[in-house]
């Protein structure tokens, strides 16, 4: 067995996948912290141990994400937009035509053709509003694990208006809402909707053709998916473990 490894060294997490051909064999992640190369190597060692293989079975490694150049052992570097497109296209069974990725500190929207080629893409600029970092901040303030955001949002009874998706300003807005006795469920729902509005704003006049997929860590938040569907008036699909699509796409790029 010869393994390819895709590493996505993102701003909030390092994701690793191990593949044989295009078959996904292993995936794991760890929070981003100083010493990214060492953390990535630990993930690799864990993956090899999990598969019962040794390092000699590793054929090639592709790195992507903001930290891709920090991993000296990569055979290939690929930008995360291209890796994302490759990964989600394959995982969607070649159905994805519009891809919304919410990463740790950026939002991306891609339009793909029927061969998975990128026709167009948009990305937020340096502001981290409405990204994974925003949700992390909210989870901390609300003292609620991110994994519960989907179910909590469904329990909301009141429509609150959260005006800001700015990581900084939203903090004071959330604190203020909590101080006024607002329910966490309602705040979470409003968070999801405010991020959905920001995504819709980024998409602007983009043509929403074909199947729309959401990926990145926040795609696991069912409340956000519902809010996006409401904002875009379209069905949003999510693949299993959507935070690994970029790393998987990096691994696929080794087959080119």
């Amino acid at each position: 067995m010869n393994l390819n490894i895709g590493l996505d060294l993102g701003s909030t997490a390092i994701k690793l996948v191990m593949t044989e051909g295009d078959r996904l064999l292993w995936r794991s992640r760890t929070p981003t912290a100083p010493g990214q190369e060492a953390a990535a190597r630990r993930l690799m060692a864990g993956g090899l141990a999990g598969l019962g293989l040794d390092e000699s079975r590793v054929r090639r490694v592709a790195a992507t994400g903001y930290g891709k150049k920090l991993f000296a052992g990569a055979d290939k570097n690929i930008d995360e937009i291209s890796a994302n497109a490759a990964g989600i296209f394959k995982l969607s069974g070649a159905r994805a035509r519009t891809v919304i990725n919410i990463g740790g500190q950026d939002l991306k929207v891609m339009t793909l053709d029927d061969r998975g080629r990128i026709l167009d893409f948009k990305m937020n600029d340096k502001c981290a509003a409405g990204t994974g970092r925003f949700f992390e901040q909210a989870a901390r303030i609300l003292d609620t694990p991110l994994s519960e955001f989907g179910s909590l949002g469904r329990l909301a009874e009141t429509d609150l208006e959260l005006n800001s998706t700015c990581v900084v300003f939203a903090e004071s807005e959330m604190v203020s809402l909590l101080a006024r006795g607002a329910a966490k469920e309602d705040i979470v729902k409003s968070l999801n909707h405010s991020v959905a509005r920001r995504v819709a704003g980024l998409m602007g006049r983009s043509n929403l053709g074909g199947d729309i997929y959401l990926d990145g860590g926040p795609a696991q938040n069912a409340g956000l998916v519902a809010a996006l569907e409401d904002e875009l008036m379209a069905e949003i699909k999510v693949v299993e473990e959507p935070q690994f699509t970029v790393a998987y796409g990096a691994a696929l790029s080794l087959l080119e």
Binding site: Y66, D79, E80, I81, S82, A85, A86, F89, K90, G93, A94, D106, R115, G116, R117, I118, L119, F121, M123, N124, D125, K126, G249, L252, S253, E256
Partner: protein
């Protein structure tokens, strides 16, 4: 708070910004000097930039008093014929911008912000006058902002009121009046010495030669023989010496140029790029993109083009200059600006490039809007289009690089093999 302590603190802040700006320039020039494609003929331009982007240096070098300009509307030939050295005021310094950041709108044209800071660090002293066109709102408010920053233009200031409609006779006539007003201002500034026909023809010839040299340089870049950072170093040095010397130096560069590495070729449009802020140029190179052509007022649009005249009277020459500078300008400040998109599509049809990167400096609203209006016509012609909004700070470099790398993959030869289902 005011008083000696406050003044002293302010002086320290200004000195710190000036030192940092000098370091930014040093860093950019060092990066250029260390490139493998450096040619001996570039040394003249590197030295000009290293000596400082200041009108005082330009005055010393040319032996002429300097008239500071902003934008491209004031006919350089007229200023030159009056015995002055035109000097385009610009700044690409984040440090100078940082100095001016305090107390001004957050979303402000980074170029004007940095120029404000440059004035505060006293980078533009020693000029005989300033000529400011009413190109955009930021420029119109420039003297007021200077006052708010606690400084002001000490030399005489002349406004050029720019008609924003170019193609009608009314706009043309009003602009001709403005150019004549500039002529009278310059003559008064020169102690009453009239700009005569002979001087004007000579100056037109000087700038015509510079324009031809710039054209030859642009042609080399189109053929992949001149990397964008060098091109923008050369254009950035234009106002630092006599135009004749600049043209001669460019002519010395031309035969030394040779083909660079293969890379997808793009057209760079939008807001200008000024020394020392070559951020986008470095990132484009890092992403594997080559600039084949541009429509930046700091690049290929530095000079508006040859001035054609059949009437060699003084009126005929001034009219021809006025027309050239008005009609030839592709600045998005104009209402009737269809030529801008044609200027991109023309060379694209000749196969010079297959993609456009449009840079918008945050707060530069005319370029921001035009980046949206020209997108459709460009895409309709089958060209790829990438709009990048940025400023002078380096903090979005990684974000920009990600986009440029992805864009590069959509253009490159690996496109065909890209992730098939």
């Amino acid at each position: 708070m005011s008083g000696p302590a406050s003044n002293e603190r302010r002086e320290r802040v200004i000195k710190k910004a000036a030192d940092k700006a000098a370091l930014e320039m040093t860093w950019t020039l060092e990066r250029l000097r260390g490139r493998p494609d450096r040619k001996p003929a570039y040394d003249y331009f590197l030295k000009l930039a290293a000596d400082g982007l200041s009108p005082a240096k330009a005055a010393e070098r040319t032996g002429r008093p300097v008239v500071n300009l902003m934008c491209l509307q004031a006919p350089l030939e007229l200023i030159h014929a009056a015995g002055f050295q035109p000097f385009k005021v610009f700044s690409g310094s984040p440090a100078e911008g940082g100095l001016a950041a305090q107390g001004f709108p957050a979303l402000m044209c980074p170029m004007l912000r940095s120029v404000l800071g440059a004035v505060q660090v006293n980078r533009f002293p020693g000029s005989a006058a300033w000529v400011l066109p009413t190109t955009c709102d930021w420029l119109v408010k420039f003297p007021e902002m200077l006052k708010l920053a606690g400084t002001e233009i000490e030399a005489p200031l002349h406004w050029l009121e720019l008609p924003h409609l170019k193609d009608g006779p009314e706009g043309r006539e009003r602009w001709l009046d403005e150019v004549y007003r500039l002529k009278f201002f310059l003559e008064k500034l020169a102690g009453g010495r009239k700009i005569d026909r002979r001087q004007l023809r000579a100056s037109i010839a000087v700038y015509d030669e510079a324009w031809r040299a710039l054209g030859a340089l642009a042609e080399k870049r189109r053929r992949g023989q001149l990397a964008a950072p060098w091109f923008f170093l050369l254009t950035g040095a234009f106002f630092l010496d006599r135009p004749e010397h600049w043209s001669e130096a460019v002519r010395r560069v031309l035969p030394q140029l040779e083909p660079g590495p293969e890379a997808p070729r793009v057209f760079l449009a939008g807001s200008p790029i000024f020394l020392p802020n070559f951020k986008l140029l470095w990132l484009m190179e890092e992403a594997g993109l080559a600039v084949a052509a541009d429509d930046l007022c700091s690049g290929e649009r530095l000079l508006p083009g040859g001035v054609n005249y059949s009437d060699a009277s003084e009126f005929g020459l001034v009219s021809a200059l006025a027309q050239r500078y008005h009609q030839g300008c592709l600045c998005p400040t104009f209402i009737d600006n269809d030529r801008r998109v044609n200027n991109i599509l023309g060379p694209a049809r000749q196969g010079d490039f297959k993609a456009v990167v449009f840079q918008v400096l945050k707060g530069c609203h005319p370029f921001d809007l035009e980046s949206l209006t020209i997108e459709g016509p460009i895409r309709d012609q089958g060209l790829k289009y990438l709009r990048l909004e940025t400023d002078y700070s380096p903090e979005d470099s990684q974000n920009l690089l990600t986009r440029l790398e992805a864009y590069r993959r959509t253009l490159g030869e690996d496109h065909e093999s890209q992730h098939r289902p």
